[in-house]
């Protein structure tokens, strides 16, 4: 789960990271009064859960409250990569001398949290990594001990930060790691961390991704989820515990198991089709979950055919077949469907489906070819 910039920065601030003064506005006049409160010169920043806001015209400097209002009015309602801007953050404008990139993430291969930092802040870090890898510092953190002061010193001195800023830099790196730990983040990023004209440090932009698996112990974070940023289908999938990702194709798929779901998409593509989604209904495949999944798939107007691929291991094939037939009755649809069942009682299941006039298949290849033909 990704948080908005303002949520991320406010969480960082709770762990001692200095951030600009600022507030969130949903209207131009709110933006005006916030700007007046902050003394006039502000940055108006769209709050949407996607990158590239600057290039899309979603981040702009305003020199006075009037300008803040008109800019906010421009930005609010803007479409950025499919997301509609509903909120802007109005931040006191910083006096920027230098920009630092600072992030903490999980290094999967070393199985440790890692701090990444670069004096080339403000830029895309992947570009810096590709072009000038020597400018990036990577520090692994022993989670049992935490980020140590000398590690911050190593990075600060390596980036040629003035020594009088090292202590503050350590407070920020420690605060960022504390926040990373406290909220079970998979990524906590400050880009840029600004060296101000007043020779201080300021986290001007922030990004925070939370490990979905850890949300059970952070109910306060789960509530920060911006449901406006989800599609109706994503929201419904989440409610039913389904893994669903919408894609651009026209063949809907419903599969039990994530790996098998990916493989099903791959095979559709292999035989010339385009998958409309990734959808894992999990282990159960009950009538209820099948019904919800089918509703979600069919809500996508691009879908011209649906492929079911269910491995009946623990669940029996005849149970699954009955569930599908029942779900179809409830929903009703003219979209052609192909069902492939495998495993325990697969034959009985296929018979039930055939009796309900559904197209069936025994191999994945056959199922995919049929679906592609029907779409």
């Amino acid at each position: 789960m990704n948080l908005h910039e303002y949520q991320a920065k406010w969480l960082f601030a709770q762990h001692g990271v200095p951030i600009p003064k600022g507030k969130v506005a949903t209207t131009g006049s709110q933006a005006r009064s916030i700007a007046r409160e902050l003394g006039g010169r502000v940055v108006v920043k769209s709050q949407v859960l996607t990158g590239g806001r600057g290039k899309a015209g979603g981040v702009k400097l305003a020199n006075d409250p009037d300008e803040a209002e008109s800019i906010a009015n421009q930005i609010l309602g803007l479409d950025i990569k499919g997301y509609t801007v509903r909120k802007v953050l109005v931040d006191e404008a910083a006096n920027i001398r230098d920009e630092i990139y600072l992030a903490i993430l999980i290094d999967r291969s070393r199985r440790l949290p890692m701090m990444m930092a670069s004096a080339a802040g403000g830029m895309d870090i992947e570009q810096v990594a590709a072009e000038t890898p020597e400018k990036i510092f990577r520090i692994h953190i022993d989670p049992m001990i935490g980020l140590r002061s000398y590690q911050s010193t190593y990075v600060a001195s390596g980036m040629d930060l003035p020594p009088k800023l090292w202590r503050e830099f350590h407070i920020i790196t420690t605060g960022l790691f504390d926040a990373f730990r406290a909220v079970d983040a998979s990524l906590a990023e400050i880009n840029p961390l600004v060296v101000t004209g007043e020779n201080g440090l300021l986290a001007v932009d922030g990004k925070l991704s939370i490990d979905d698996n850890a949300l059970f112990r952070h109910p306060e974070l789960a509530e920060m989820r911006d449901v406006d940023e989800e599609t109706e289908s994503e929201r419904e999938a989440r409610q039913y515990g389904l893994s669903y990702i919408q894609l651009d194709g026209n063949i809907g798929c419903m599969v039990n198991g994530a790996g098998l779901a990916m493989a099903t998409m791959d095979v559709i593509k292999l035989y010339g089709g385009e998958p409309a989604n990734f959808l894992d209904i999990g282990g159960g495949a009950t009538t209820e979950s099948v019904t919800a999944a089918l509703r979600i798939i069919l809500a996508d107007a691009k879908v011209k055919a649906v492929l079911f691929n269910i491995f009946g291991g623990i669940v029996r094939g005849d149970e699954v077949a009955n569930g599908i037939v029942e779900a179809l009755k409830q929903i009703g649809s003219d979209i052609p469907m192909v069902v492939r069942l495998l495993g325990t009682n697969a034959e009985e299941g296929l018979q039930i489906l055939a009796d309900a006039n559904m197209a069936t298949a025994t191999t994945l290849t056959e199922a995919a070819q049929k679906a592609v033909a029907l779409a």
Binding site: M144, D212, G257, L260, M262, G343, T363
Partner: protein
């Protein structure tokens, strides 16, 4: 005759009184697994399918001399159960639980490594070593949830990051008469206990395995590391399937670990690495049968 589990396995089931725990305990017993005890705090003294329940792993160890733990508890209790099993002296832990926070797993894995405890999973279907019906004392052993009905004894080792996709491949192999030595799911999470290399090494050393199937997917670089290992140290033939060629970057495809971040996480990069060292990579799961025959 197999890797990691066999008829000498004496299994504890953590979470045995839960719905899943009870169901799979029954299935495992039916398949021939020697389930010696279960653990559920507060339910010590009860019995599940003839298996005694204990409050703590330490008590279970004292009473049963177990040598393997299967963790089937909710995600929020899973780390504690793994620590408990390790501290009780269990050398092999199979963790089925899905949804364990990554930061928990970082600490658990580091701790288990320090104690020399082998972990399989989490977020995995476990292991199965098919029985050899004709041979005395050679009934099958399974620790986990892989259906016993789809396997058959044989000489192909299967290692996978996935669940039902693995069943798919096993089913295809069995349908064509290719039996398995051991099938092992290593799990779909970003931080897991045993990786492809660990299992490949065991299959390479197992005299009853003569070929190996790898089922990988997007995310991380475990398949690339496996390729390097195969090139350097494997003498047995290896075939592979990698799921997720059509997965969009930056999205988690169900498994917490199945996400393309950077170039090395793509299916293409993995397939390329495996093919470069002579591993045959299938275009679709059913094709594995041809490549490994």
């Amino acid at each position: 005759m197999s890797i990691l589990i066999d008829q000498n396995t004496r299994l504890l089931v953590h979470g045995i009184t839960g719905r899943q725990g009870m169901f799979h305990t029954e299935k495992m017993l039916a398949y021939g697994t020697n389930v010696v005890g279960g653990i559920t705090p507060g339910k010590g003294g009860q019995w599940v399918h003839g298996v005694p329940v204990f409050n703590t792993a330490q008590k279970a160890m004292e009473a049963t001399g177990a040598n393997c733990s299967m963790i089937s508890v909710p995600a929020r209790f899973a780390a504690d159960s793994m620590y408990e099993a390790a501290d009780a002296g269990i050398p092999l832990i199979i963790c089925l639980t899905e949804g364990i926070p990554v930061q928990d797993m970082i600490e658990v894995r580091a701790y288990l490594d320090r104690l020399g405890v082998r972990l399989v999973g989490p977020n995995c279907p476990g292991l199965i070593t098919p029985g050899k019906p004709g041979r005395a004392g050679m009934s099958g052993t399974k620790v986990g949830i892989t259906p016993g009905s789809i396997v058959m004894p044989g000489r192909a080792g299967i290692v996978s990051r996935s669940g039902t996709l693995t069943y798919e491949v096993i089913y295809a192999l069995t349908s064509r008469g290719i039996g398995q030595s051991t099938c092992i799911g290593i799990g779909g999470d970003p931080i897991i206990g045993s990786n492809f290399i660990d299992v490949l090494r065991m299959f390479e050393e197992d005299p009853e395995t003569d070929r190996v199937v790898i089922i990988g997917e997007i995310g991380g670089n475990d398949e690339q590391l496996a390729a390097a290992y195969i090139s350097k140290s494997m003498t047995k033939p290896v075939a592979a399937f990698i799921a997720g060629r059509t997965a969009p970057p930056g999205r988690r495809m169900g498994h917490a670990g199945a996400i393309v971040e950077g170039a090395s996480g793509t299916a293409e990069a993995k397939i390329e690495a495996l093919e470069a060292v002579g591993v045959k990579v299938a275009d679709h799961p059913e094709q594995i049968v041809e490549l490994i025959s």
